[in-house]
């Protein structure tokens, strides 16, 4: 229990740091870049919205920074991020974000889970058949694959499968002559549009899981209890899965949560390359349009997603592995 409380404490602290960074960054930059752009939009925005922007960026207000900071924290706590300035002029930022969220959850969520499951499986088998074909091919291939920039791989796949072969669609998340509905035709269209971005994400992330799992397995396979299991004459697959893999997977679980930050970061660029209208694409739209309120909200959303994942993974690891509970 104390362990969980400590983790929650860390969660709150990190969240606070992220919030404060969000508040301080525009103020630290030369000439407060947010100021100019927001100043231009004042006319078309309701007075309440102007107040939110004032607290967030310190624009056109005489209030002292501490009061601004407190008001900003209060606004964030109530999901009041003000209006979007340029991307969807006048719409509340929280609404705009909510429209983009399902696309990212679908694309990145499914792909990440798939990559984790597949990668861990391949890693287990590779380490078990040490010295086999899989094992000797894997490391060099995935060392190279892990340095391929997500976005560049996306560009190359578009070039091959989209532009040259005309096999797969590579623009937007569905054919926008269709009206969104729950019909099989539309769902099929959405899935078709998800193939290229999903595949890009899958092959750039899977290497991590394969390599970490393989290395964990190799370490675990040298443990005495694995030797004991072999000595007892248990069938190979039981030793591999129930004795070695079960223990080797524990560090990977936290790695899974930690990697979410990277995956979301990479997904930003993949969504941009494929014009897939998820959270990452929206973030870059906001950046290009200097829509600072929207940008800040999206940064917070991504940070919170990562922090929650880490918290869940920590608690899960503590439940699965008693040794970690006492750790410091």
């Amino acid at each position: 229990m104390r362990f969980v409380l400590r983790r929650v404490g860390f969660f709150v602290l990190t969240l606070w740091v992220a919030l404060t960074l969000n508040f301080l960054l525009p103020r630290m930059m030369p000439g407060n870049p947010a100021l100019a752009i927001i100043g231009r939009f004042k006319g078309g925005i309701s007075p309440q919205a102007v107040k939110v922007l004032q607290d967030q960026f310190g624009v056109g207000t005489r209030q002292n920074p501490v009061a601004q900071y407190l008001a900003y924290l209060r606004n964030v706590a109530t999901f009041n991020f003000g209006p979007s300035l340029t991307t969807m002029p006048g719409e509340p930022v929280s609404q705009v974000v909510l429209h983009a969220l399902p696309w990212t959850l679908g694309l990145v969520g499914v792909t990440t889970i798939l990559a984790f499951a597949l990668g861990t499986g391949i890693g287990i088998v590779g380490a078990w058949r040490r010295g086999g074909l899989l094992d000797s091919l894997m490391p060099p291939v995935f060392v190279i694959l892990s340095v391929v920039p997500y976005f560049w791989l996306g560009l190359v796949l578009i070039l091959i499968f989209g532009v040259k072969l005309h096999l797969l669609p590579y623009f937007f998340s569905y054919d926008y002559t269709l009206t969104p509905s729950l019909s099989p035709a539309f769902i099929g269209n959405v899935l078709e549009h998800a193939i290229l971005p999903g595949f890009t994400l899958l092959i750039t992330t899977i290497g991590t899981w394969i390599l970490t799992m393989r290395n964990n397995m190799i370490t675990t396979l040298a443990e005495d209890y694995v030797r004991m299991a072999r000595a007892k004459g248990l069938p190979g697959h039981r030793v591999m899965l129930d004795y070695a893999a079960r223990n080797a997977i524990l560090p990977n679980l936290t790695g899974f949560a930690m990697s979410l930050g990277f995956v979301l970061g990479g997904a930003i660029l993949i969504e941009e390359v494929f014009n897939y209208q998820g959270v990452g694409w929206l973030l870059l739209q906001a950046v290009n349009n200097e829509d600072y309120p929207l940008m800040q909200a999206l940064f917070l959303l991504i940070t919170v997603a990562v922090l929650v994942a880490i918290l869940v993974a920590d608690v899960a690891t503590a439940m699965l592995d008693p040794r970690t509970r006492g750790a410091r």
Partner: protein, 335 residues
């Protein structure tokens, strides 16, 4: 406040074989470097990585030797194909693509080495100080490290970049250094912690050496190989992060580099008209990244023999090893 349970909360790879009891710490450092030199020639992955990196360094140092054209000049007919005059053809803006790729090497390598050295410096400072000072200092530095570690780095860089409007090479180095040191600081701290209480450190304390001397002469030389690994990791990440930022237009678009080339390519319909404009700079990023990753991976194998490819017998690793958790180099950052 304590650390999140990261994969590397387990003992760090035993990159430094055995204790280093030499009183003259400088000797250990030199020996470690010599050992590294031998390792590079002995390990195929390390040899390939080092050769590739050396090649890029040469190109960055003397680009005018192999590319006479001015990379910025928009003076040629547009979208020429490959020819002897234009080795990679020309862009939709009328620039010589070969000159762009060659001259683009320099800013990328500057960022790689700048961030590699800078971030590793900060990481050594904070990681070793935390481990050596202990107590409240350790807790505070540790919390700072952990908080920075879990805040998603690439989105943070995008936010900072959007306020900066066109970050040049220097600004890019500074920003990535300041935000990106935490991962390696954690590893270095774990390694330094494992040294605590070793006899050679006690001996230095009994001799009455000052703290700074102990850190600089006794502790840091024993960590040489981990520091080199940390440099490689940070350099690799700098290449990938900065290319990503330049690709989305957050770099200085007038600087010729691989990331900005991709930015201009995407904005000029290169898919249809000049596929090489996309392929060439991307392959360069992959090759440079692979150079860093190969050297790093080879170091992992050298430090943790259990991970080496088996030569003769397929089966279990022969002996028990300390957990060699994979470095972040295996994980792909956002780019």
């Amino acid at each position: 406040m304590d650390a999140p349970l990261l994969p590397d909360a387990a003992p760090v790879p035993a990159s430094v074989p055995g204790p280093a009891p030499a009183p003259g710490g400088g000797i250990t450092g030199a020996r470690a470097l010599r050992r590294m030199g031998r390792a590079i020639t002995a390990n195929r992955k390390a040899t390939a990585g080092t050769a590739l990196l050396a090649l890029f360094c040469l190109v960055a140092a003397f680009p005018q030797v192999i590319a006479r054209d001015n990379p910025n000049a928009e003076i040629y007919p547009r979208l020429l194909g490959i020819s002897a005059r234009h080795l990679l053809g020309t862009t939709a803006l009328g620039q010589d693509m070969w000159a762009q790729v060659v001259w683009g090497t320099r800013p990328v390598l500057l960022i790689a080495f700048g961030v590699g050295l800078g971030a590793t410096g900060v990481a050594v400072l904070i990681g070793v100080a935390a481990a050596y000072l202990g107590g409240a200092w350790d807790s505070v530095l540790n919390v700072i490290t952990d908080v920075l570690l879990v805040i998603p780095l690439f989105p943070l860089l995008i936010v900072i970049g959007s306020y900066l409007h066109g970050a040049g090479t220097g600004v890019m180095i500074a920003v990535i250094t300041l935000t990106g040191w935490s991962y390696t600081a954690r590893q270095l701290r774990a390694q330094a912690l494992s040294l605590r209480g070793r006899d050679f450190l006690e001996a230095a304390r009994v001799r009455g050496e000052r703290g700074l001397y102990v850190i600089a002469v006794e502790i840091i030389p024993t960590m040489t190989s981990l520091i080199v690994a940390s440099f490689l990791t940070n350099a690799l990440y700098a290449v990938l992060f900065s290319s990503g930022l330049q690709f989305i237009g957050l770099g200085d678009p007038s600087v010729v580099s691989w990331g900005t080339m991709l930015y201009w390519a995407e904005n000029n319909e290169a898919f249809q008209v000049a596929p090489l404009w996309i392929i060439a700079p991307g392959l360069c990023i992959v090759a440079l990244g692979a150079a860093f990753a190969l050297i790093n991976y080879a170091f992992d194998e050298i430090g943790n023999p259990a991970l080496r490819p088996l030569l003769r017998r397929a089966g279990r690793p022969a002996s028990r090893r300390i957990a060699g958790t994979a470095r972040r180099a295996d994980a792909q950052p956002a780019s």
